[in-house]
Amino acid sequence: MFKKKITNNNWVEEDGKFILKLPVIERDSVQKVYVPDGAVFVSKYSFYNCISLTEIHFPKSFKYLDGDFFDCAVEKIYIQNADNNIVDYIPSNFDFICKDEEGFCISRFCNNNNPTSRFLHSKYLLPYMVNYWDNKEKMSRLDVIRYDESYLVSYLVRKYSDTTGCDLVEKVLNNNIKNYNLLLKQINYCISPTYLREFARFCDALGVFTNQPITTQRTSKSGKIIVETVDYAQKSREFIREFIRKGTNLSFLNSIAMSRISGGFKKEFADFVFLNFPKIIEQGPEFLVDCYLRFDEVQTAHTKNKGSCKQLAPTVDFFVKYFDETKFKGITDKNRYIAKVIGKYYNEQYIFDNAVSAVELVEKNNIPEHILNHELKGYVDIKSNYIDKNEAKQPMIFDRIKNKLTNIAQNSQQTLNTLCDISNKKFTYEFLRKHDVVNLVLGKLCNCCAHLDGVGNGIAISVMAHPDIQNIVVKDSDGVIIGKGTLYINREQGYGVCNSFQVSTKVCESSSANLKLVYKTFKKGLIDFAKEYNKEFEPKLKIINVGGSVYNSLLYYVKKDCEIADELLDPIDFSTFSFMTEFAYDGDAIDSQYTIWKADEKSR
């Protein structure tokens, strides 16, 4: 039930939410705002258009603001409690805190007139400082934070703040700083601030700052449930001590500093390091850094070759071989690039030989780089036609409403444009050059069998063997291939069949919004292809179907968006391209197809 009552001044309470109701013209000149006592939930629109606002005073009851401070240049925020929620609304450049008769004032600038003014190392320390403001012993702990440690404190408190609050600050100050300093002792503190930061990051990846042992549960092959508890903080301290005792040159931190790898505890990496402790130390610091920086990349390649390329547990051997570029025989200047790509995924000589043979097919069969006469890349354009431009003029309130509708439409268009820009960077499609060796290992990247040592190797090789087969790939914002589809064009009969869409397990498990966007990107790619093709060739394409087997990672979206094909188009039999003498896969479009694009009657 909607409830509304007027409180003091211009504040109105609506369904428990407080909002400052002021005409826009008066908002410009407001400098201070006092939120009334008893207000718990304050609307973000209270501060809308208050461009001169410098001070906001929240009462003790205040807990939530439903957004950020908006359109105002607030310099001081007065609070009387420091609920964890409040921290979220404090802008991160508020570096000072002081206390007066009204409560705590958090500000951008140091208040020299107030002797209690202190440096706020991190806004995430706010609940701790407010709660223990008068406790000299606890506050003195903050005083001993060195400049180089403040980064660490902020980092840790921020990282773990939502779960443990003030207790965590105690833990960080008592244990983690101690742990960290103990580790720093091992390296005699003699490292630069940059190295300190990277050292903290590296330690964190190993779990030095985990607060308690972590228990995990897994099911063994025999179905037995195995419970394991690991104290990562303890293990990582032991490892780093040993690592440094071996006389490791700390310049390895420089490589970490140069990288842009995101921080945080990496459980898989830590497990790998601790399980292979002596072997890794034996390999040396450069190997460890390579493992740290390229862990995800190597593990992407470290999958079973059979079936859907299930992820395998990391091993030192695989990492060593992954980094070894000279493991194959017969590497020449001409085929070195093949070894470089293939070597990431396979160690077997026969696979390298097969890759070389596949690439030779390009020359032998005079295969062009693309089915089209040019390369094709693109992205999903989510712009919509939301603007209504043709509104006649209306008097008074009609006019006002019309203007507002136009404004909303324009703002929406801006938002959609921006979202479009963002999403452009998120996923892009590309028709992969048919000569590119990556065609041979796409299955490894997209967790499917279409790679040199999978049952679908015929699909991989077909691109280099047949002029009218090409892979469309979808890349993420980092340019990493996360999805593939193999398109076959029947030029004589004017149709195309895309074998299926295969998407990497990581993306499949991420979010439905991601998967939906990947599907849209594929669809856009195929539609663009059809349009371009029809500009260049006769007879024109009339239809493109996509395989509807259960192996299609995007089957859910295909079914939702496309009509099932009444008549199956004749797909190509991929098994004819296979190097395998035994079973070879014929494709995903044999038994079921969906129509993803159809030319309209006029354009045929």
């Binding site: 209504d388 309130i397 009609f398 439409a409 703002n411 929406s412 979202l419 963002i422 979010s511």
Partner: protein, 81 residues
């Protein structure tokens, strides 16, 4: 910004945008009907229509603010990316 955080915010902005568009489109429809009816309405009917238009105007004001904020959020997200 971590990918999952980015996506969360992205989805929130998309949801908010869809909500704004849905609501404004509903208001627009009603507005068109009221505009037509107004021309042939009696005085007291006109008063009721004007009253309703005032309510729609208020709702639109809120939607307008939300659309500005959402646009800013989208821009901020783009910058942070």
């Amino acid at each position: 910004m971590e990918d999952k955080d980015f996506l969360k915010i992205y989805e929130k902005i998309v949801d908010e945008q869809e909500d704004i568009l849905q609501k404004s489109s509903k208001i627009k429809q009603e507005f068109e009907t009221l505009k037509k009816d107004y021309a042939s309405a009696t005085e007291s009917e006109k008063q009721i229509i004007l009253q309703r238009l005032k309510t729609l105007d208020e709702e639109l004001e809120d939607l307008e603010k939300r659309s500005i904020l959402n646009s800013k959020r989208a821009k901020k997200l783009k910058e942070d990316k």
